[in-house]
């Protein structure tokens, strides 16, 4: 079974804190993704990584950075958390290419910034 694991299911942080969200996958997938989900706005891509140390901005990268030092781990970093970053964060992984590119998601992290 493909497994994508996010480090926390629920997280409460204070405004201005540096926040790390961790994601680990066990399927040797090259591609990893971070999305956020908000009511009425759906799922939006924050960052995408297609290999170790490689990253690409998604649709809403402002206020976030990422780190991919090892193939299985993709971290999302909120440099200085703000209340508008309160959201559900979802990590995913997939293989690259034109076929067999099914994506698998972690269980999600509900982040509240107070």
């Amino acid at each position: 079974d493909v497994k994508v694991t996010q480090s926390s299911r629920y997280l409460v942080k204070r405004t201005g804190e540096k926040v790390f969200l961790e994601c680990v996958q066990d399927m040797d997938h090259e591609n990893m993704f971070w999305y956020r989900q908000d009511p009425g706005l759906g799922l939006r891509l924050i960052y995408f990584s297609y290999d170790v140390k490689m990253k690409e901005k998604g649709d809403i990268p402002e206020g976030y950075s990422v780190s991919r030092e090892k193939k299985e781990r993709f971290s999302l970093i909120l440099e200085s958390a703000s209340t508008n970053q309160t959201s559900m964060y979802l990590c995913a992984s997939s293989l690259p290419g034109q076929t067999n590119t099914e994506a698998f998601f972690g269980q999600g992290t509900r982040l509240t910034v107070v």
């Binding site: 299911r9 591609n31 799922l43 995408f48 690409e56 998604g58 559900m88 999600g108």
Partner: protein, 110 residues
């Protein structure tokens, strides 16, 4: 970028009823997936179906790639089918990123 539209946005059924959810997309795709988001927020993979028809128990899906739509069928619905169903696509020749529709919220009443 590619546009993904799901309909209906909300659907309320009685247990045992059948339903059809639709996903329209605006460009050719390499990947199309259907997900069910459970009450705890996790996205559960239902189908990976860039073309053709697949069945899994009471659920089935059909993608007509040439006409740029996909349908998810739920038969004999159960209360546990409640939740939000998402369609997501990866544009052919694109950068391997999934673009999601806004979802269909299904409520199955006992």
């Amino acid at each position: 970028g590619i546009q993904v539209e799901q309909s209906p946005p909300d659907l309320i059924l009685q247990e045992g009823a059948n339903s059809t959810l639709r996903c329209n997309f605006s460009d050719s795709v390499n990947n199309l997936q259907w997900f069910h988001q459970n009450p705890w927020g996790q996205l559960i993979n239902l189908f990976y179906i860039p073309s053709g028809t697949k069945q899994n128990g009471r659920l089935s899906a059909t993608t007509v790639a040439t006409e740029r739509y996909s349908l998810l069928y739920i038969s004999s619905s159960q209360t546990t089918d409640s939740g939000v169903y998402f369609c997501a696509v990866e544009r052919r020749g694109g950068s391997e990123k999934l673009v999601f529709g806004k979802g269909t919220k299904l409520t199955v009443n006992p």
